[in-house]
Symmetry: C2
Subunit: 354 residues, 2 copies
Amino acid sequence: MARRVQKPATQVTADDVARKLGVSQSTISRAFSMTASISEKMKRRVIDASNALGYQPNVIARSLITRRTNMVAIVMANLVDPFYPVVLDELVQQVQARGFQTLLFVPSPGQPVDDIMPNLLQYQVDAIVLTSATISSAMARTCAARDTPVVSFNRYVPGLQIHAVASDNIAGARQVADYLVSTGHERPAFIAAQRDATTNIDRRHGFMSRLKELGMPACLEEEAGDFSYEAGYAATKRLLRKAKRPDAIFYASDIMAAGGIDAARELGMGVPEDVSIVGYDDVPMAALPCYSLTTIRQPVAEMAKVAIDLLGLADPRGTKSAPAMRTIMGSLITRSSTMNRGTAGAGRKRKAAR
Amino acid sequence: MARRVQKPATQVTADDVARKLGVSQSTISRAFSMTASISEKMKRRVIDASNALGYQPNVIARSLITRRTNMVAIVMANLVDPFYPVVLDELVQQVQARGFQTLLFVPSPGQPVDDIMPNLLQYQVDAIVLTSATISSAMARTCAARDTPVVSFNRYVPGLQIHAVASDNIAGARQVADYLVSTGHERPAFIAAQRDATTNIDRRHGFMSRLKELGMPACLEEEAGDFSYEAGYAATKRLLRKAKRPDAIFYASDIMAAGGIDAARELGMGVPEDVSIVGYDDVPMAALPCYSLTTIRQPVAEMAKVAIDLLGLADPRGTKSAPAMRTIMGSLITRSSTMNRGTAGAGRKRKAAR
DNA sequence: TCGTACCTTGCATACGCATGCAATTTAACC
DNA sequence: GGTTAAATTGCATGCGTATGCAAGGTACGA
């Protein structure tokens, strides 16, 4: 017969506030709603009573009805590369600025993102952001069927039905090629990361194709394997020990380039005197005096804004927009890891003094 | 009279699976439960049908009943200092390893953590981790009243009723003092960060009190203001321009020490020839050849494990344990930003050659 | 004075799932 | 084969909130 059996006391509900005020639970609900109609007077009474009782709406219960959790899942496949903490920071700021919360997933090394997507969908997130990770087209279809928008950040898969945001890696790499040639470099090289990463592919292709356009001979290349400092370091040692050494190296990322600078110095070579070094990303580290790395700056803040905008979080009921691909221009930042080796233009000069 | 009106089609529920199989919804529920009793045969039928229909349990609905969301909130007040991405990585790994998810909060600059706690509690998180941030005792009481365990990582407030995990900053700083004195340094200095941060207070105190015990004269000191590269850089310039220059500087953190090294070099001073530099944390950057920083290594992985363990996530109903404070020993990592300046022990030698 | 329109509130129900209890089936044993 | 215990399943209900609908209240104009 007992109407209510011994509440666990840990949870104050709208019913408690309603009882205290002698009104209905609906009224409490409406006091915390932006849209519902309620008199100012009553609203104040409810707010005051809620504060007195320590009542806070349970957003979990709310989302059961509204079908919106106000949570955005962010998948960070990599937190070691200094580029990604910056990305995460910007993304979270954007998400929070829109009144949403961030559910963060970090796959364990080697774990495919497809494996954790079900987990993520079970939490009924309103949207998903993937950084440096891709999903299968089957999973993309699952998300589409659930009206859960997905955006891929800094990577894309042609044909995959999800949004994508990246800086214009091809154009950025072309700028690097232009810059190196115009500063008199004659034997540029590229050090690659994962072969299948679009960032790697585009930067490589933009660089090499532009070099070719400029009439340069075939570009040297070395595979590092991944986007890490260690990989860049090791690949650089291999490359610089060869007979025909490059006079400039462009890396698929800044952190790799940092490893490259350290490797070159360890071999007794001067940067930029003996070899110019160029990275990509403009991570904070690139500005440090001991690297002072010439690089392409990715406009992370803008990219993050565009990415979150693409999710259409403002729409009450997800107006499923067609998958869009947005590329954003980066800019060349010249620092002292590169130098002018002679006449500007496609000069045939052989050597350049300091 | 329609029993069910036009489902939005975006959500497959347990009812759908039940109807397809001609069993009750309870059975579906039990098939996805670890503890409930269900025959193997039925379980397989349910799983198969679920896969066919694309059914995934809605954990939001589940948590309404179980009163557990399996979400842990992590508050990261700082993502710029390279120490914290490492911390976040370890914490998230620990959280996920226990089958929980991470709800990430990054307060905007200057925003007190107390302001975002209500947000966080509304999401009914099962536990909260604060990194380099503190909350009011009122808020701590609110959490206690809700049986939501809170652990403070790398910072603590004496008397505050929440768990805390930190490396033993006092002992670590004492090791630095011992090391510098035993390597013949005679004029050590300390560069401080935020005055009220316990990490700063303890490192300063451990260092200075140990120097005093060893019979050293009063230690030089300079206030940087915060834990940033820029602050360390600026404070170092101020300190090294003074008449009586130190022969060793201990910084409240690695990133500050990195700024210090660059500042010293810019002033034409050699590290460690003219001044030894010691940091704290052992961030990845400290191992780079251009810094090669002597420092105290914080055992981040172990600290993260202890922190998450303290939350007692395994317990079905939070057995509210008394707030515990755990300190974990760090270890001195000597690299080439420091050198031996003469006889070991409390020598009175004046100068030391290279 | 009454009637109309609008604003405010309460009632009832649904969101998707877990779980105590009772009913039913299966297994086990003599 | 019969009896009893154990395992399995269904039924009914509740978790805390939002919301359509109807009822009540207020203000206003005629």
